[in-house]
């Protein structure tokens, strides 16, 4: 006996496939809408770099503690896109950057990104002022190393992005106490609670991925955010329709609940 279960779950999956495919196609032929929502933290990056240049002190940056081979890949990817942008801005004025890396697999990537950014900015020799350091793959040793650089180099701006866990509190608080201009971005809920009070500008949840997409100018990354927006609209519509139907006493909730 063959019977079917969970039709809605399959329908959403199929829908996601169609949306994703459609937006990837649009990215290829260049008809993708631009991300118009303003993200204040993106504009603040320029301010952070400018402040460091003015004071003649370095910027300190982390792309997060995760790597690219886990489910947290989008956050790390966004962190690296932001690194590329920061590096380009800093190269123009030869403002030093210190990048603290925590995964051995991210180290060569980050080095390559910094090098490319300096080339693209037209200041290849600026790569001398941009230091990518492997600190530790252990959370707290990493945090200690990060604070160490912050104190030693008297960092003017602290930009931390990507997947952050318990250690973020340590360096966010240290940066705040040292008077750094701070921009924090993560999609980890428990850490967002700490970056909001400790940072001047924040990238909350998907703002991080959107910021990465905007700054990288990569149509593929933008298409992902556009796809998210499609399904987000569907979610909003589903909530409203379910609410209306429930008020009209149509038993739609048990159907949605059953998947």
């Amino acid at each position: 006996m063959v019977s079917f279960a969970h039709p809605l779950t399959i329908a959403i999956l199929a829908l996601a496939f169609i949306i994703s495919y459609y937006n990837i196609r649009r990215a290829k032929i260049g008809t993708l809408p631009t991300l118009r929502r303003k993200i204040p933290a993106v504009d603040a990056i320029e301010q952070a770099v400018g402040r460091a240049t003015e004071l003649g002190r370095p910027i300190i940056f982390t792309p997060g503690l995760s790597s690219l081979e886990t489910i947290d890949a989008p956050q790390t990817l966004a962190g690296l896109s932001i690194l590329s942008y920061v590096s380009k801005l800093a190269a123009k004025t030869k403002t030093p950057i210190f990048v603290g890396v925590s995964k051995a697999t991210i180290l060569p990537l980050a080095q390559e990104i910094v090098k490319m950014a300096c080339l693209e900015a037209g200041v290849p020799e600026a790569v001398e002022t941009q230091h990518v350091e492997y600190l530790s793959d252990q959370q707290f040793a990493y945090a200690a190393g990060y604070i160490g650089i912050m104190a030693r180099e008297k960092a003017a701006s602290n930009i931390f992005t990507g997947t952050l866990w318990a250690e973020s509190l340590i360096f966010a608080e240290a940066g705040h106490a040292a008077g750094c201009f701070q921009i924090g971005g993560t999609a980890v809920w428990t850490q967002m609670a700490f970056i909001v009070p400790t940072c001047d500008f924040v990238l909350l949840g998907e703002e991080l991925m959107a910021a990465g997409a905007i700054l990288s100018n990569d149509p593929e990354q933008i298409s992902t955010i556009v796809s998210h927006d499609f399904l987000r609209l569907i979610a909003i519509a589903l909530v409203l329709i379910a609410f209306a139907l429930t008020l009209l006493k149509v038993p739609v909730l048990s159907y949605i609940n059953g998947g």
């Binding site: 106490a177 809920w189 428990t190 998947g259």
Partner: protein, 278 residues
């Protein structure tokens, strides 16, 4: 400059030292505190009370050693309560890698454990690798991922408790204390949603706001919230455990936190006003 600004810049050293003192003193000089169980605690209690003889309970300790100092007292209380129920069978299994040795610790600390027989009333199935995949796999067919028990390493079918237990449909209740909300989300995705087995949990207290969402959505049957929740549970069972012992520390440290918050903000507003006057 002035005392207002200084009030907002107490050095970390003094904050830490005072906190350390406030952490230790109440443990040495106990302060008795009254407790009235909240409805969250009562719901957990009544869920376990309503179990009938012959019901199978899956007890998943995913606190790891890192969550044990805070959540351990609650785990012990839940184990004790389940062991007090006649005829209720308890199956321990773990998906977090540092958790398996914690089962012995919890059982040893539960006074009623002496009345229960290993292999008939309870069994320790051990660790299953693969995290969420492991959870899905365990639910589909227990024997495909577990062949021997953890305690003695004997084939599980030699134990009478394992008769008629095949997959997730054979369990009445899941108890899952965790050190991260992700473990609980995995259980909801792989166990509650497809098999409709109710879950009760002790989330790490920082994830209580998340647990509340799943509780309100009906995906989580009930949960113990915070130190007071654990202490209330100990009180319901008539135990004096570490949660009750630690409750007094919450008073000193939390009052300290509130005072610091007030000092910081008074300083902020006073020094800001001065700036404006200038």
């Amino acid at each position: 400059m002035g005392w207002a600004k200084k009030m907002g810049e107490i050095s970390s050293k003094w904050i830490y030292i005072l906190l350390a003192i406030l952490l230790v003193i109440p443990l040495l000089v106990p302060i008795p505190l009254p407790l009235t169980p909240s409805h969250y605690t009562m719901e957990v209690y009544e869920t376990i009370e309503s179990l009938k003889p012959g019901d199978n309970v899956l007890f998943v300790i995913d606190t790891g050693t890192s969550g044990w100092p805070a959540l351990g007292p609650g785990v012990i209380a839940l184990v004790e309560h389940l062991f007090r129920k006649d005829g209720v069978k308890v199956f321990f299994v773990e998906f977090e890698s540092t958790s398996p040795p914690l089962v012995d610790r919890a059982v040893a600390a539960a006074p009623s454990a002496s009345k229960k027989k290993y292999g008939e009333d309870w069994i320790h199935l051990g660790f299953v690798a693969g995290e969420e995949t492991g959870k899905a796999s365990f639910a589909a067919d227990i024997r495909k991922v577990i062949s021997v028990d953890y305690k003695y390493g004997k084939p599980i079918d030699e134990y009478p408790i394992m008769k008629n237990v095949k997959n997730m449909n054979d369990f009445k209740l899941i108890v899952e204390p965790t050190n991260a909300i992700t473990w609980m989300e995995q259980a909801i995705r792989q166990w509650y949603t497809p098999y409709h087995v109710p879950i009760i949990s002790i989330p790490p207290f920082l994830d209580v706001p998340w647990a509340e969402n799943y509780y309100r959505a009906g995906q989580l049957k009930a949960y113990l919230a915070g130190t007071s929740g654990l202490a209330e549970y100990e009180k319901l069972l008539g135990m004096y455990g570490d949660a009750t012992r630690g409750l007094a520390v919450m008073t000193t440290t939390h009052t300290y936190a509130i005072i610091l918050f007030v000092i910081g903000n008074i300083s902020y507003f006073l020094s800001r006003r001065k700036k404006e006057v200038k």
